[in-house]
């Protein structure tokens, strides 16, 4: 059983392996489980906020780091699913656990849109640079579309879209239970749900990238022509990775919307679209663990900066991105790992 899990979870496409890494993993998860006991409700809710974004970062890591296709428009799927969740729950309420169904539907809508867009992009054999531009244009158009929906005529059922101010008032996630629904406000209960989801998604992606699919995906990143000559349909692999990654962006959007009970068009704007790229590039896009840790770290730093020097935070983010790209192209975490290995080797 353990040997089988070991074979599924570890492989050439992920950095962390061996007993030391997995012991560390278990310790971190246990620490995360114990964490709410030592923190107040607000901090726990804030940690959930960080967790919400990590799904989108992991999805981008899959598309960009593993598949070699740089998508700038992940926020389009984020926004689409977020608005989808808002429209569904404002129309049908939250009884009988409908919010959970709404999550599934909203993510499915994002996945469907990714499939259609991805079909045109990958089957049109769009090269790397153009892919980024087109996806970025899509998210910018979404932002403009939603920003001008201020009038009362812009409504879906009973849900007003509210233009630039965004949608508000959608219910948080609820779990139907025997003695009444459990409402998951951004507090300890929601924390455990999202933590569990995060662990499942992380392990699932690890299995995926270490499977045959992941190996082919990396082969395409390394040399697309060679992969094609070996008989793989490059387009299908890239499209699949794009759909999975975009669904994760959609999941982030839904969780964000239900967490704060609002979503605005600026979550699909130029700045918002840049942030996932910063997290993934800074942490290390070619490894899931590096992306996860890096995203969490950058988010915490960003929030601290926003509190102490609000307007400089974005400047620092931009500078961080430029410096990382210039001096540590694989990201900080693999960079540090490589450096320490070299130091140990030289001694």
């Amino acid at each position: 059983m353990l040997a089988k899990a070991n074979k599924l979870l570890n492989g050439p496409q992920t950095m962390g392996k061996g007993p030391a890494f997995w012991t560390g993993f278990v310790v971190v998860v246990l620490g995360a489980v114990a964490y709410p006991a030592f923190a107040d409700g607000w901090t726990v809710g804030n940690t959930v906020y960080f967790f919400n974004w990590i799904f989108m970062a992991l999805g981008l890591s899959l598309i960009w780091g593993y598949g070699g296709a740089l998508s700038f428009g992940q926020t389009a799927f984020f926004g689409l699913a977020g608005y989808g969740y808002g429209i569904l729950t404002l129309n049908f309420g939250s009884n009988y656990g409908f919010t959970l169904l709404a999550v599934v539907i909203a993510v499915a809508v994002a996945a469907l849109f990714a499939a259609v867009l991805g079909y045109f992009l990958f089957f049109g054999r769009i090269s790397g640079v153009f892919l980024g531009i087109v996806t970025l244009s899509v998210t910018l158009v979404f932002e403009r579309l939603m920003a001008q929906t201020a009038g009362p005529e812009w409504r879906v059922g009973t849900a007003r879209l509210n233009g630039f101010n965004g949608m508000t008032g959608m219910p948080p996630l609820t779990v139907p239970w025997f003695d009444g629904d459990i409402v998951l406000f951004p507090d300890v209960q929601l924390y455990y749900v999202i933590l569990a989801l995060l662990v499942v998604v992380y392990l699932g992606l690890r299995i995926l990238v270490n499977s045959r699919f992941g190996n082919v995906l990396v082969a395409i990143r390394e040399n697309q022509e060679r992969a094609e000559m070996l008989g793989y349909d490059v387009r299908k692999y890239q499209l699949t990775a794009f759909i999975i990654g975009s669904s994760l962006a959609g999941l982030s959007g839904v969780l964000y919307t239900s967490w704060g009970q609002y979503i605005t068009p600026s979550s699909m704007g130029l700045t918002a679209a840049a942030l996932p790229v910063v997290w993934v590039a800074v942490g290390g896009r070619r490894d899931l663990t590096a992306t996860l840790v890096g995203t969490f770290a950058v988010l915490s730093v960003f929030q601290t900066l926003t509190i102490y020097g609000s307007q400089y935070a974005l400047v620092v983010m931009g500078a961080l991105l430029v410096v990382v790209v210039l001096f540590a192209p694989d990201g900080l975490i693999p960079g540090i790992a490589g450096l320490s290995r070299r130091l140990r080797g030289s001694r």
Binding site: L117, L121, I126, V129, R144, L270, L326
Partner: protein
């Protein structure tokens, strides 16, 4: 007369869209066509040109001279950026996009911190004229003329000057050009500067017609991207025809359903075009010809 008036209104709209697309895209297209680099800070070069122009006008310069200042300033900033950042990333095109995006974040937020969230602009110069039932802005005609002049000037630069010959040699076979004594690094640097200067020119030209906010570059880049994607790598065979096609689509949809419909229809047109012609119009023309 009624029909003539409607026709003129439509042509004016097409011309206006065309000018906007050509001017916002040409700087991006030159940098992309020459070096395969997509400059995501393009919008911020436009913003830089616009801000410098407005400052120069406030300092008492006449508008054309002020626009020249804006162009020059953006060009200088472009050259500096090439030397500091872009130069080190030519072997990694995807990373160039990411790095220029970082620069774009710094520039937008930096201007917001230094100069505030909005700034008084300059009024639109020239007056308006009437044709048929509607009245039109004369300055828009100047912008259309400017788009044509820019295209002609670029054609002359790339075909008649020494720099142009060296630049074209550098795109075709870089190491051969180098072997023949062309300083390819200098050519890349100057080309990047030229692209940035064109963005600055666009900013200067449109400064009187827009509200001056640090994020004003964002209102250009989607159009610029779309035109470059449809056009492909060649400025003359790609950008101009692409702007023509998209300009008609945008003008038709805008006058029918409003501005947003114009943008959405352009985006849909792009997605369909790249499915049919993956290397853009210029790639298609070159393949047909060769």
């Amino acid at each position: 007369m009624e029909i003539l008036s409607a026709l003129f209104a439509f042509l004016y709209q097409v011309g206006d869209a065309l000018a906007f697309l050509v001017l916002s895209a040409c700087g991006l297209a030159i940098i992309f066509g020459m070096m395969g680099v997509i400059n995501l800070a393009h919008g911020e070069f436009i913003m830089c040109g616009a801000y410098v122009t407005v400052y120069a006008v406030r300092a008492g310069l006449p508008l054309p001279l002020a626009i020249a200042c804006g162009t020059l300033a953006a060009g200088v900033v472009g050259i500096l950026l090439e030397l500091l950042v872009v130069r080190h990333l030519y072997s990694r095109p995807l990373d160039t996009i990411v790095a220029t995006w970082g620069i774009s974040l710094i520039a937008t937020q930096g201007v917001l911190i230094l100069l505030g969230s909005t700034m008084r602009g300059v009024g639109t110069p020239l007056s308006s004229f009437t044709f048929g039932a509607y009245s039109y802005s004369q300055y828009r005609l100047v912008l259309m003329a400017a788009a044509v002049i820019v295209l002609v000037a670029l054609y002359l630069i790339f075909n008649k000057t020494r720099f142009g010959v060296h630049a074209r040699a550098t795109i075709q076979v870089p190491h051969m050009a180098e072997a023949l004594g062309v300083n390819t690094r200098l050519i890349y640097c100057l080309t990047f500067g030229l692209g940035a200067a064109l963005a600055g020119l666009t900013g200067g030209l449109y400064a009187p017609t827009m509200t001056m906010v640090p994020t004003m570059g964002a209102s250009f880049i989607m159009e610029a991207f779309v035109t470059v994607v449809v056009g492909g790598a060649d400025v003359f065979l790609g950008t101009a025809p692409a702007a023509m096609v998209l300009g008609v689509i945008k003008a038709a949809m805008t006058s029918w359903q409003g501005q947003l419909a114009g943008q959405i229809s352009m985006l849909i047109a792009v997605i369909i075009v790249i499915r049919v012609l993956p290397s853009g119009i210029s790639g298609w023309i070159l393949r047909e010809r060769g």
